[in-house]
């Protein structure tokens, strides 16, 4: 725009210059003309005439005037011309510069055009590349969709397979149940009739049946895991208790190959949330493997805790001094149906699924199972679980039986009281008051929670409110008394309402009306809480591990326990103790066995009435039974006894004894 304006100005100047030039030209011509006139006048002077002379003179005057003024005009014009020339020159210079500027502009324009063209070309290229990309993307998307679909299909078919297996396994168990059961019946018949050969064949059917059952159970587990149907049922779990229980269960396996089993526990965590059944299955599997592949060796079970990246893990490791594995075998053991070497299945039995399942279980619970092993040196299997600790309110059982030292310096187990009340003020008050009196107090804010805690904590006494929302006190009392696990716990009903008769009918031990008279309450608690110090339990058992386990169980229940290794030592102890509540007796022991000890007991009046519970592995013959008959209160088999049953029996025997002697 600016250029165009300048150009227009330039053109205007040019025009003026042109006009000036024309004027100049004209003035020059005029000048020539006057010169010619002058010459003509000179000619006239040679032909004198008055008129002509006058005219000539007149003309001359005019011309002279003109001529005298001409140089001035010319000079003016020259000045103007000069000025114009200078201006012209300036304009010319500007023109030149403009031209140059124009030229570079044109050049730049060309360049820009070229760039534009380049850009256009690139654009096209990009566009086509974009097209290709879109196409490729589409292809990828298609592939991905196909993959997703095939993955879905695969998953669905895998799940269908696993579901099929799960159902199948379930269906297989029913007839297997019949096969095992009937063969057991026939074996009993054969034994009675002394048909030895038939008996051994029937036992083969039984053992094959049980093997098949084991396989089916394992397949069921694996298929459940693969079908995603394996559920976790997490509950509170007393770690040490669990380990000891498993150690007791594998005891016969340990002895079969003359192994020694040791337990080392370095964790101070008592309790974790876990799927107890699965943890148990994993540990049982590891331990039974260790027993199977080790002979005359040492099996060590270690329980510890470890903090890795701010997470606490509970670690169970089982190490043995057995046959070990090569690195190649280690790579295979966690895959289904691959025992390290197929020949091991023939030699050592088993399904080859145990470790696969164990690892699945560990992983399902957020942990893992690993192995380290060396040929002929033994193996270490390590199962780790992330620790989910129990919360404070629901304390552990071991806490419930924690031990305090009283003024006399004697250790005395703290009694646990469970307070079930929906009123938080009442709970707080009871807690403060009872804690001050040396009780361990746990509280539950509802009937349902109370039942759960009662089962888990096994408190020494329960105080129960009656008017509670959703589950009232009467239903709680009925449930407590209807459950073999809690039936023996004394319950004191504390309520604003009437109902002493109902309370006693439903099995409550005591009844108090709110507001509670605290002295009365304490008296009542002391009356109803059994005093376990009324006597000691003598454990006569030559196996160290089992002895320790029994010791642990019984002391945890608050009993005072004395341990001896055989009948001879038992007699020595009996002589020095004046109050013995019960004897827990193994039958087969060195020096003096259980049968001999029972005879000795019968020969002493003061020992005759001591209850005796036998814990044995021996298959009792009719002769054995005769020797024990009437002298033994209860016989448990080591391989099958449940800790709870044993403790219940011990408990009941001692209290019936106490009641008997006091009445």
């Amino acid at each position: 725009m600016a250029d165009a304006k300048q150009l227009r100005g330039l053109a205007k100047l040019n025009e003026e210059i042109r006009l000036l030039r024309i004027e100049n030209e004209r003035l020059l011509l005029e000048n020539d003309y006057y010169k010619a006139e002058e010459q003509k006048e000179q000619l006239f002077t040679h032909q004198p005439s008055r008129m002509a002379k006058a005219y000539a003179e007149q003309t001359l005057i005019e011309s002279e005037y003109n001529i005298s003024h001409r140089p001035k005009r010319i000079a003016n014009l020259r000045v103007g011309l000069e000025k114009s020339n200078i201006e012209n020159e300036g304009l010319r210079q500007e023109m030149i510069q403009l031209k140059i500027a124009n030229q570079s502009l044109a050049k730049a324009n060309v360049k820009a055009a070229q760039l534009m063209m380049d850009i256009e070309i690139k654009s096209e290229e990009i566009e086509s590349a974009m097209g290709e990309l879109v196409e490729a993307n589409q292809k990828l998307q298609d592939t991905q969709n196909r993959l997703i679909k095939s993955e879905k299909d695969a998953l669905a078919s895998s799940q269908a397979k696993s579901m099929f297996l799960a159902n199948m396994s379930h269906e297989l168990r029913t007839p297997l149940n019949a096969i095992i059961g009937y063969s057991e019946m026939l074996a009993e018949d054969a034994e009675e009739e002394g048909l030895e050969e038939m008996m051994s064949d029937l036992q083969k059917i039984q053992s094959a049946g049980k093997h098949l059952l084991g396989l089916i159970n394992d397949v069921l587990d694996i298929s459940k895991v693969e079908a995603g149907k394996m559920e976790l049922n997490e509950e509170k779990c007393d770690i040490l208790h669990l380990v000891e229980e498993i150690v007791a269960t594998v005891h016969p396996l340990v002895e079969r190959n003359s192994n020694i089993l040791e337990l080392e526990c370095t964790t101070d965590i008592n309790c974790m949330y876990a799927d107890v059944t699965k943890v148990r299955q994993v540990l049982y599997n590891l331990l039974s493997n260790a027993c199977k592949f080790t002979e005359r060796g040492r099996i060590l079970v270690k329980v510890k805790q470890e903090i890795v990246s701010r997470k606490t893990w509970v670690i169970f490791s089982v190490s043995d001094t057995g046959i070990g594995m090569s690195s190649e075998e280690i790579n295979n053991i966690f895959y289904a149906f691959t025992q390290a070497d197929t020949s091991t299945i023939r030699k050592y039995g088993g399904t080859g699924l145990g470790l696969t399942i164990s690892r699945y279980f560990c992983q399902l619970m957020g942990g893992d199972l690993n192995v380290k092993s060396e040929m002929d040196q033994g193996s270490i299997f390590t199962a780790r679980f992330p620790l989910v600790q129990c919360d404070d309110e629901t304390a552990t059982r071991s806490q419930a039986s924690k031990v305090l030292t009283d003024q006399t310096g004697q250790e005395k187990p703290v009694k646990t009281i469970l307070v079930i009340d929906d009123d938080s003020e009442m709970r707080d008050m009871m807690k403060r008051h009872l804690t001050k009196n040396g009780f361990d107090v746990q509280v539950a804010q509802s009937g349902k929670k109370g039942l759960e805690m009662a089962q888990f904590l096994k408190p020494d006494l329960i105080t129960l409110d009656i008017l509670m929302p959703s589950m009232g006190g009467w239903s709680v009392l009925t449930s407590l008394k209807g459950d073999p696990e809690t039936v023996d716990i004394p319950v004191v009903v504390i309520t604003v309402s009437d109902g002493q008769k109902t309370a006693h009918t439903l099995g409550a031990s005591g009844f108090l009306v709110k507001p509670v008279d605290h002295n009365k309450l304490i008296d009542m608690l002391n009356k109803f809480i059994h005093d376990h110090s009324s006597g000691s339990i003598l454990v006569v058992e030559d196996n160290t591990t089992l002895r320790q386990i029994l010791h642990h169980h019984l002391t945890r229940e608050g009993w005072n326990v004395i341990m001896v290794k055989n009948g001879r030592e038992a007699i020595d102890k009996l002589k020095s103790i004046n109050k013995l509540a019960l004897i827990l007796l193994d039958l087969i022991m060195p020096e003096m066995d259980g049968f001999q000890l029972i005879e000795e007991l019968q020969n002493h009046d003061q020992w005759q009435s001591i209850p005796v519970v036998v814990l044995t592995e021996k298959n009792l013959t009719s002769e054995d039974n005769q020797r024990l008959d009437g002298h033994v209160n209860k016989i448990f088999r080591k391989s099958t006894y449940s800790e709870d049953d044993l403790l219940n029996v011990v408990h009941n025997l001692i209290y019936s004894q106490l009641r008997g002697s006091s009445s």
């Binding site: 029913t174 019949a178 059961g181 019946m185 559920e231 049922n233 073999p484 049953d645």
Partner: protein, 124 residues
């Protein structure tokens, strides 16, 4: 002689179970579904019930709840038998009112122990 009610729909299983129990000196009666189980519990007054949980008509859980809700039958101990060796089953059985629990195929000596112990407790 203690009388045991076996609630079980599979013929092999109830035949075997009842015969094995009879050999051990128990009197047995059989119910093949939950409804019959409840009726026999009422009319026969058995000393103990072995209850398969997967039975037709009324399942074992429901039958247990009914038996445990009636005054006449509440005190009869019930041992649940389930074929699912699933954790949580035990709790489910106990919640339904069962006194004990075992998985199938049953370990017969173990089951006998449980029966004996429950009958003893009942006598006390």
């Amino acid at each position: 002689m203690a009388k045991i009610l076996v609630v079980e729909d599979n013929a092999y299983n109830y035949d075997m179970l009842s015969r094995r129990l009879m050999r051990k000196g128990y009197d047995t009666i059989i119910a093949v579904d939950g409804r019959q189980g409840v009726e026999l519990a009422k009319s026969e007054g058995p000393d103990l019930i072995l209850m398969d949980m997967n039975i037709p008509e009324i399942d074992g859980w429901e039958a247990t709840r009914i038996i445990k809700s009636m005054d006449a039958t509440r005190s009869i101990p019930i041992i649940a038998l389930t074929a699912h060796a699933m954790s949580g089953d035990r709790r489910k059985c106990i919640e339904a009112g069962c006194d004990d629990y075992d998985i199938k195929p049953v370990d017969f000596p173990k089951l006998l122990e449980k029966i004996k112990s429950l009958l003893e407790q009942k006598c006390v």
